[in-house]
Symmetry: C2
Subunit: 412 residues, 2 copies
Amino acid sequence: MSTPRLSRRGLLGGGVAAAGVAGAFVAGRASADDAQAAVAASYAFRGEHQAGIVTPAQDRLHFAAFDLLTTDRDEVVALLQDWTAAAERMTRGDGAGEVGPVDGDPLLPPDDTGEAIGLPPARLTITFGFGPTFFDKLDLADRRPKALRRLPHFPADVLVEEISDGDLCVQACADDPQVAVHAVRNLARIAFGRAAVRWSQLGFGRTSSTSTTQDTPRNLFGFKDGTANLKAEQPELVDTHVWVGADDDPAAGWLAGGSYLVARRIAMTIELWDRQPLADQEQFVGRTKGAGAPLGGDKEFDEPDFDAVTGLAPTIPVDSHVRLVHPSFHGGAQMLRRGYNFVDGSTPLGALNAGLFFIAYVRDPDTHFIPIQNAMAKSDAMMEYLKVNGSALFVVPPGIAAGEYVGQSLFA
Amino acid sequence: MSTPRLSRRGLLGGGVAAAGVAGAFVAGRASADDAQAAVAASYAFRGEHQAGIVTPAQDRLHFAAFDLLTTDRDEVVALLQDWTAAAERMTRGDGAGEVGPVDGDPLLPPDDTGEAIGLPPARLTITFGFGPTFFDKLDLADRRPKALRRLPHFPADVLVEEISDGDLCVQACADDPQVAVHAVRNLARIAFGRAAVRWSQLGFGRTSSTSTTQDTPRNLFGFKDGTANLKAEQPELVDTHVWVGADDDPAAGWLAGGSYLVARRIAMTIELWDRQPLADQEQFVGRTKGAGAPLGGDKEFDEPDFDAVTGLAPTIPVDSHVRLVHPSFHGGAQMLRRGYNFVDGSTPLGALNAGLFFIAYVRDPDTHFIPIQNAMAKSDAMMEYLKVNGSALFVVPPGIAAGEYVGQSLFA
């Protein structure tokens, strides 16, 4: 796990002590010192694993999928080297390059687009991934991880091709959306001629905690989300469920210490949801709306009792979300979720184009995502209010040491 | 101008002193105390003018236009009364109503959607406006303000009808986007059967300061924006240029203390912009990119010298943005700008769907917006990188006293 460090952009003065600050930052009830220090804090780009996975989830997201414009492996390696250099600069609070004049020449375009000048690092992380088609286009099929293929069609998927899949992905998370947008925009600029944005998604509010130091946030159904999420403070569980092991995959030893990233754009029909009785909403979810306690329990972190009955029926209904996706019904499989709420304007029918941009990191989607998603899509009462219109699967290479570029183990 | 006060949602404990805090909050370099207190602070909903105009611009926006589903004046008055009650609750950090059980009945839908439970008020303001068609549909033509009509077609307008105009508008601004989204979503829920969302726009980063206590932010061209904007601390200028006077309009005395709201969705071709030389970018804008100084000047707040020449040409080019829109060429007319950066995913062509959601408040669009926009659209070098695809004009009624509902002076 990367270590928080302090940095700030050149135009900022002053200094704030921030040792361990991100771990101390509790969204929604931070102390004043914590809040200010967290904005100024940054995470190291290099480490055993990429930052942005078990890193305490930042508040805002800009996620982009890219398509390669070249099949030349050397050009792609050069792109990854350029992206690594820019990402390392931006995560510590510098520009992607010089605003200019670059090399003293005002007739060159700036090497940074400028909109983040004066803004602190805002705990920016940039996480890179490769999609299945990346391996096809670069003739790397012999090194392709075994579970990396287009996700199957699930019931209730209404996928739009233009916002699904991709050769590469970039997940930029930060506490300031302008910082996250600046990162994606500059990586797109740097990729010019080599890769182009395929689709892109902003998220305004995190819907998961990835650290025990964080409160559980709420999704757009108004319910606490991710109560039982994997947390950074559970390293053994994270090792078991998130990081690809050295012996997991003979063809892809290079992925050891990496992970799989599942991205799903889940549109919610929130106007319909808002007209359902409170009792029904709670039966669909399997938890209370206020406290987030499992039905029949008192407090958010009470264990759900799936054997409890009320009258003749299970207290936690058989088609409730919390039951259908619970690890106890899936061989113990857990995900590290890292999703975000979104509203992308409105639909032609006068509804808000709103939902959850689901992101999960798993060691193997064949055991840790696909069976769970099938159970949910087939039986979950909540599905009546969900439509999945974007979907993608990527592998996320391990972290890198000094002098390396992101994804280097694949090309070594 | 509304007075900041302290409040917080029921589920939050503790207390933070916040007297005058919003005025002390300087985005980008707040002290720790300021930052925390600002999140907890709230603005009064009632006052001489609606909040959200000269209020120091919050960081995030959710703007929605609504179409009426009824032409019954009594139903619309009831809607405005319901909206007033909910807006007053939400701006002080409460829910729009009870999460439930409402009236103790779990079979009723909640009166609040829940996703803002536990979040502080985040300086939320909610500002309401009426479009030209509002007056047509309610048979109120005799009370229609004289300048309230569909904006003319400007050069470079490529308007999309579905994201233009509207009978009503709601501008929700807050420092937490989840709070702003929650506000619009609940107002839409409350409007069910009486008005429906026509279009809606999120903005992630303010592009204007409306108070001398705020730093000048940057737009997605990477330049400081709004350096010469009207500020709350200039009450005489605000009276002259923003608030409709009691004698401005014999048919619309009810609008005294209100304003006109111009909304324009300005898409920027940022990828093209990013490939222009720094010197060209600065010539288009008429300011330096780093400091934001007018060309030929040193510092951001230096007055532009339009008579200065460099060689044979004006130092500030004749087609530069800063010159074309400067008050000295428009009879002294000034606007109070309150726009936001946006990125709405990406276009089918692989570009970021990015730009500036322009909002301006003016006393009279016929003198304070249309001539300036015509000059800009016809001659501004920056227009090569702009496409306006959404446009709307509204009037914003004055503020209200205790016991009144928003817009009451129109119906009185």
